[in-house]
Amino acid sequence: MAVSGLTTRLRVRLEPFELSTDITLPAKGVSVIFGPSGSGKTTLLRAIAGLQPCDGDIWFNGDYWQGNGRYRKTAERPLAYVFQEASLFPHMTVSENLDFAERYTLRPGNASKRDDLIELFDIADLMSRRPDRLSGGERQRAAIARALLRQPDILLMDEPLASLDDARKHEILPYLERLKNEFELPIIYVTHSAYEAARLGDYIVALDKGEVVSQGELYDVISDPKFPGDISREAGTVVTGTVHCIDAKWHLAQIRTGSSALITVPANNLNPGDAVRLWIRASDISLSHEPLKENSISNSLPCQIEDIRHDPNPALMIIRLRTERIELITRITRQSASQLGLEPQMQMYAHIKTAALI
């Protein structure tokens, strides 16, 4: 058993199947529990929090929350929880909601925390308002600040963006990134969105029909073609890099992902030196033997074929590619694979149609 982190060995009856997991999540960073709706991911999170009765053991940083003859009630587990729908108490102002959380803080005497959180989540102007006078995004920001005021040892988040529209999602995501970067707090984040998983996750557990179908570091799991969800849409690669330079004339940014590999993306509000993550879909990469000179695709990287696998779709093949620093996966038709005569170890050029900043 790991020395730190969260281990669960759970069984929950969950019609029409049984949720059965045996997972160990790291004690730091963001662990994403990913799966389609009805896969049991929210049930798993609720079981970890003690909100859902279950059989099995839950063990966190050397302490049994459940099992070994012990059971800690939700309030006795050093966690905080952000719910999918707004969970602020409707009869209290935002400020009173924060007071409530502060009353039960796990680290009393850390008074500056409140002001820091109010600033971090930009809720100073909302303090005297009641939840029904807040927008969905404002409510969720206040709810996250309230959860953090408990100063928990671990933060559980159940699809905190799922009830928001796209514009609100993009309003909240930067706050979640700050949360991830500025707090040394392990987070378990439940989502059905591959985009959120790729943008925030460090460790991924993919669930389907109550069972863990794959788990591991983000980069390994998300490029695994077994990754659940609509595979042809969701499979892809997450690439990290830094902004090398900005082309002001064309509003493009060049992202350096190794000593030589450069990927060009729309500049948006990037500055040189910014650390970024890119999401490259398997279906947005094509292959050729020679570098292309004239085409609309601006990103061509030399690469080597690592392996070639069959896709669940009989018309397609999955090709793993290795460039200097990064690994890509692409999905091309079996016909093109045959015409190009693809073999493992072959040197090719990968053409990236688009790479999304995430």
Partner: protein, 243 residues
């Protein structure tokens, strides 16, 4: 308590009956709110564990609570009379703790009224707790609040409208009680002769003007209470316009 202009119409015995009614309804309402709260919390609690066994027991309890809604008051009164007899367990117990005989006493009337008005207090509370749902209590638990704090700071304030409705209905229904009182309380001035019984006495004695006054007071009171309760239902604008 009663304005001067009614002095000529309300005899001291009428005022005494009204005062007794008020006292009975107040005591009953306070006691009912106290015992109905845990009962309603239990009935509304949809804990997913052991759902099947609990829902069976809950069904029985709910049926028992609702009995006074359908039983003739005479049936309820008859059984209570037997239960209150000095030879019964309850009768012996009340003697042992110094309450004396329960039949034909104010204490007996309180117990009978509590049974009689129980569904009118429990049901609004169950509805209120169900409307709140488990979500806020769960949020409180994840913030570290124990059961009592969650009840005091979250459930109780959110269920306040339900408590007010429950209290008002319990009070009004006790004021309107007649048959059970007659069966187990009899007609003892200052002890068990409440307003509804007093009206019956007036009518029997053909004292119609006195019966008119007391009846009008009860009619106006009951209508005002019901109007207020219905006006509180969200979206009921017609009733609100009258308030």
């Amino acid at each position: 308590m009663i304005p001067c202009m009614t002095d000529s119409l309300l005899a001291p015995a009428d005022i005494e009956a009204l005062w007794l009614t008020l006292k009975l309804a107040s005591v009953v309402t306070v006691l009912l709110l106290i015992i109905s709260t845990p009962l309603a919390l239990w009935l509304s609690d949809d804990d997913t564990s052991q759902t099947r066994n609990r829902s069976k027991v809950k069904g029985i309890v709910q049926a028992v609570i609702a009995l006074p809604l359908v039983l003739p008051p005479t049936v309820l009164g008859f059984y209570l009379l037997i239960a209150f007899s000095p030879n019964s367990l309850l009768g012996q117990f009340s003697h042992a703790i110094g309450l004396g005989s329960l039949a034909f006493s104010f204490s007996g009337l309180v117990i009978a009224s509590m049974i009689y008005s129980l569904p009118f207090v429990v049901q609004p509370l169950v509805n209120a707790f169900n409307a709140i749902g488990p979500r806020h209590a769960e949020a409180a638990a994840t913030l570290g609040a124990g059961r009592w704090d969650t009840f005091r700071y979250i459930t109780l304030p959110l269920a306040r409208p339900g408590f007010i409705t429950a209290g008002v209905l319990g009070f009004a229904h006790t004021v309107g009680e007649f048959g059970v009182v007659l069966m187990i309380g009899g007609n003892i001035a200052g002890e068990t002769r409440v307003a509804s019984v007093q009206i019956y006495d007036h009518v029997e004695a053909l004292a119609y003007p006195q019966a008119h006054t007391l009846s009008a007071i009860l009619l106006l009171f009951s209508f005002a209470v019901l109007l207020w309760v219905y006006a509180r239902q969200p979206g009921n604008k017609e009733a609100k316009a009258w308030l």
